[in-house]
Amino acid sequence: MFRFAITRLLQAVPVILVVISITFLLVHAAPGGPFSADKAVPPEVLKALEAQYNLDQPLWQQYMGYLGDVVRGDFGPSFKYPGRSVNELIASGLPATAELAFYAMLVALIIGASAGVFAAMRPNTMQDYLPMSAAMIGICMPSFLLGPLLVLIFGIHLEWVPVSGWGDAPGDKILPAITLGTGYAAYIARLSRGGMLEILSQDYIRTARAKGLSESLIITKHALRGGLIPVVAFLGPAFAGLVGGSFVVETIFQIPGLGRFYVQAAFNRDYTMILGTTIFFATLIIVFNLISDMIAIWLNPKLRQQGQGDN
């Protein structure tokens, strides 16, 4: 287990390096410099600007310089917001995004896992079909449609919750969390149903039944741990998806989070911001994948041995 963690961590280093290199090259291959979109700038001003951001150096020198900065945790200054560093921008957007992702995950796990387990208890009956059909709707309803619809119904017509904002009025975090969480709730419902069905057909469950244990005890004490392994393994990739989904949800609900900053940076061609945020997100996602793998291995003794064997 420990060795596995170390090897996976070591593997993550080249991956992050690849991410940095690809992003850096892509951004620098972009046609037009970061300042070309602005009004006509006198050549000497442009020169001074380029010197300030080291753009006059050869590419490899810029790359090495940037790499050195990133290793020290410094993403450099923002192109579009003079005087502010990318680090500051990330730090100011991160809390809202992290909170949103946390609530969304909570929504997804609670609704998804209970629906899945509930459905698996009586497979191929109404108790199975209803939650699973709902899950299908959740999967086919993209967040950029669900969000506005929820706003339309609960924000505008019923006026139960604020239409947008984050932390300004009570209840304004509910709709964003539901919007972002629903799709994942649906996936988690399907995964936990599948996992539970497989576990419930195992011999040790039959033994537990034969002992006369109550169904609820069987589910909670014996089946859940194994049945939810696929869900745990999904959490890492789900987190990656949450980050992407936060782009849309933060745009719809005007949440001052990292996702909205990223989309704005994309429109503004704020190259250092794009670079910094991409690297930051990638690292975060790799770490989360690692954590969810670890938990899955910890939960499943069979994998625990395998994990030591290969990798």
Binding site: L26, M136, C140, M141, Y262, A266
Partner: protein
């Protein structure tokens, strides 16, 4: 010799017949298939059957709710929504199909090569897939669209380039198991050439999972396109797609909710149909894999 070939053909067709019988029993999957066929037909015939011209405006009318003349209402420029959705669907479906084809091509070639060659080549190729899996793809697509400008061909490529990974894994796994099966060994010992074995045994047997996964890739590709268009990074006006129509609809949803609801409904129904058909195909063609 002739007789033996005939027998193989018979066995091959019975697999597909078997799948068809199973699929036909799955009512949801058949519904999905019918909806998709209808959608395809409507998209093909749009220029002839659309009730109004694509750029036909009626500024005096403005945004109007559904009526006898405009079944799905009109937008703020008085353009017929049904017509807009039909033309948008052509773009959305085209992106879905072409980007999936790109993903399919890369994925199958990559996976089949890795699985067939095996050994160190396989290890390196699949490690690369693992690495790419760990990357935040949404971000990379946004990055690509920003760097290279928003054009539709790049969109095909960018989406295809991120959706091939699972396909590669599936094909590789399939090829790996097939290679070790007795009937393939038997074919080798009969002295059949490698190419014949690939053509007659490997390809037909990988086809099932590939078809299933392709059906399931199309909806996720269409979602990605809609997502990007919604953010303003995908399809650009004057072209239109469902994602773009939804994003316009969101802007005016307070006054004119039908501008959001109809394109949204169309996209959702299409995704539904594709997912149901994909699930049905999976049950019919690939009984070993479970629902997820």
């Amino acid at each position: 010799m002739d007789a033996s070939i005939e027998k193989i053909d018979e066995a091959g067709s019975s697999l597909w017949q078997d799948a068809w019988v199973k699929l036909r029993k799955n009512r949801l999957a058949i519904c999905g298939l019918v909806v998709l066929l209808l959608l395809g037909l409507v998209s093909l015939l749009t220029p002839w059957i659309a009730p109004y011209g694509y750029e036909e405006q009626n500024l005096i009318l403005g945004a109007s709710p559904p009526s006898a003349e405009h079944w799905l209402g009109t937008d703020i420029f008085g353009r017929d929504m049904l017509t807009r959705i039909m033309y948008g669907g052509r773009v959305s479906l085209t992106v879905g199909l072409i980007a999936t084809a790109v993903a399919l091509m890369i994925g199958v070639l990559w996976g089949a090569t890795a699985g067939f060659v095996g050994g160190r080549v396989d290890a390196v190729m699949m490690r690369l897939v693992d690495i790419l899996y760990a990357l935040p793809f949404m971000i990379f697509i946004v990055l690509l669209m920003v760097v290279f400008g928003r054009n539709i061909f790049l969109l095909f490529f960018a989406i295809g380039a991120v959706e091939w990974l699972t396909m590669a894994r599936i094909v590789r796994g399939q090829v790996m198991t097939l290679r070790k099966q007795e009937f393939v060994e038997a074919a080798y010992s009969l002295g059949l050439s490698q190419w014949t074995i690939i053509r007659r045994h490997i390809i037909p047997n990988t086809l099932g999972p590939v078809i299933v996964y392709t059906t399931l890739t199309i909806p996720s590709v269409m979602l990605l396109e809609a997502f990007l268009s919604f953010l303003g990074l995908g399809i650009q006006p004057p072209q239109s797609s469902w994602g773009l129509l939804i994003s316009y609809g969101v802007e005016t949803m307070e006054e004119f909710p039908w501008l959001l609801i109809f394109p949204g409904l169309t996209l959702s129904i299409t995704l539904f149909a594709l997912n149901f058909l994909g699930d049905g195909l999976r049950d019919a063609l690939d009984p070993r894999t479970s629902k997820d």
